[in-house]
């Protein structure tokens, strides 16, 4: 296939088109080889640069001064309309970014996550026990959803029994974000505030404010993430964080941590269900688990693309970028770059030579996922609990991987497995 520079893939490939996002890997492979930075169009979206090589992604991730994070849309005007101090952590830059990050780290830095790990482990073991004696289960609902949801609640100190509700909010946010694609029947409609509310009408902010109030009244006393947030001091002003800042941090964790970690775990388990030899290898040698998680992240990034806006004329990889141009970063592509990961970059292997260059699934530069350590720890705990109780996993007859509808995400909608438990 001939690929012309500037014009991108002859198929008109665009990561925001749902049909293209279903199986983008071949088109991305061709683009990496023939037109690693291309101009892509999907009207009425503005034209954007699509970046597909590992090294170019790194250059852009590192240069936050030139390439600003604009969240999950490529609506540059919408991003500009919000004053810098009012952006959430994802789309803000220094000096506003650091304090927003620091407040979240009270719950998700390695130290508080390690402290919460035994409680997450106990929860994961209970979850696995529920289906361990049956000979099959739909593992997204039974395993990949409840464990990350509980892990976030546990590090924060929110009631684990409220997790179903947290999950509803995440789903609503994702459904409304999927409207950013012209493939969505409601493209262009501004999601209403009610889109964020589940059927019972409760909003995450009302729920979280009530929780903070109960903390202040001394009704809840626990050594957890929310307590640390209430006691934290703003690094620049020395003052306490406001309720609004704490609520934003907590809400961001619920919104950004649930679906992503669920997809990570479900993608990983799907890889192992089609490679029973690797599942057995992991049962025998648990030291391979982190390699398995990294390899799953690399091949199947839960979030396939990130967006930036270029804010001054510059050049990357010999290609000019102009002020105001939207940029789409294909993590899914960079992670399979053969010049970095070798000719077998498309293969799921647990024995890649270390140190492997870090994959881009958690992003890079100052916006690297703040919850990366929690996500990896959650997946590790969840997989360990499964390996302890389940001897073999395989796909249910007729199972086909169908990814979630949202163009940004790659995770199976369902994962129907046949299970064989081991004696406890």
């Amino acid at each position: 296939v001939e690929v012309e520079a500037e014009l991108g893939h002859p198929s008109g490939f665009h990561p925001f088109r749902w049909e293209d996002s279903e199986d983008p890997f071949e088109a991305l492979h061709e683009l990496r080889l023939k037109c690693p930075i291309s101009q892509v169009e999907f009207p009425p979206l503005p034209p954007a640069k699509l970046v597909t090589r590992y090294d170019d992604l790194g250059t852009i991730f590192r240069d936050w001064r030139t390439f600003h994070n604009i969240g999950v849309s490529i609506d540059v005007d919408g991003w500009k309309a919000i004053p810098p101090e009012q952006h959430g952590i994802i789309s803000s830059n220094p000096p506003h970014h650091g304090p927003k990050r620091r407040i979240m780290l009270n719950a998700v830095a390695p130290a508080p996550v390690d402290q919460a790990a035994p409680a997450i482990r106990a929860f994961a073991e209970k979850v696995v026990e529920r289906f361990a004696k049956s000979n099959g289960a739909e593992m997204v609902a039974e395993w990949a959803k409840p464990i990350p949801s509980a892990a976030i609640a546990i590090v924060l100190g929110l009631p684990v029994e409220d997790c179903v509700r947290h999950g509803h909010w995440t789903t609503q946010i994702i459904l409304s974000s999927s409207q950013m694609s012209p493939s969505h029947p409601d493209f262009g409609k501004v999601p209403s505030a009610s889109a964020y509310m589940p059927g019972d009408g409760s909003s995450p902010f009302t729920y979280l404010q009530e929780h903070l109030d109960r903390r202040r009244d001394g009704e809840i006393q626990a050594d957890d993430g929310i307590k640390a947030m209430l006691e934290a001091r703003h690094p620049q002003t020395g003052a306490s964080y406001s309720d609004a800042e704490i609520l934003e941090a907590v809400n961001t964790m619920l919104a950004a941590g649930n679906e992503t970690t669920t997809s990570l775990m479900a993608n990983l388990l799907w890889r192992l269900a089609i490679r029973p030899d690797l599942y057995s290898a992991l049962r025998r040698d648990r030291s391979l688990i982190l390699a398995a998680i990294d390899e799953s992240l690399r091949l199947d990034p839960p979030q396939q693309i990130f967006e930036r806006v270029c804010i001054r004329d510059t050049e990357v990889g010999g290609v000019p970028f102009s002020d105001g141009e939207p940029v789409i970063l294909s993590l899914a592509s960079g992670n399979r770059d053969g010049s970095v990961y070798g000719d077998d970059a498309d293969e799921f292997r647990l024995d890649r030579e270390l140190p492997n260059p870090p994959n881009w699934s958690m992003g890079g530069g100052i916006h690297l996922c703040v919850g990366a350590y929690l996500a990896r720890t959650t997946a590790e705990i969840g997989l360990n609990a499964l390996l302890d109780r389940i001897e073999t996993v395989s796909l249910a007859p007729g199972f086909e991987y169908r990814k979630v509808e949202f163009h940004h995400f790659r995770g199976p909608r369902r994962l129907d497995l046949i299970l064989q438990s081991s004696p406890k």
């Binding site: 220094p94 990050r101 620091r102 100052i366 990366a372």
Partner: protein, 71 residues
């Protein structure tokens, strides 16, 4: 022949986020005070070192060659 890079961690700036450890675990670790420490600068290639340093949200890690910052 280029001289090897030098990695400098500003302990006062480090807030224990662990992003450097996540990006290059063979290079960085968090110590008992949850501050980043360098384990082995030769355990990674230059690109990985740069990516790990650039992932610090608090700009606590500098990479120098011949005393000058590398970006």
């Amino acid at each position: 022949v280029t001289t090897p890079v030098e990695v400098v961690i500003d302990r006062g700036m480090c807030m224990g986020a662990g992003e450097c450890v996540f990006t290059a675990g063979s290079l960085f670790q968090l110590d008992a005070e949850h501050k980043a420490v360098l384990i082995d600068v030769e355990a990674a290639d230059d690109a990985t070192i740069l990516n790990a340093a650039a992932s610090c949200p608090n700009f606590a890690i500098s990479v120098l060659r011949d005393g000058r910052p590398v970006t």
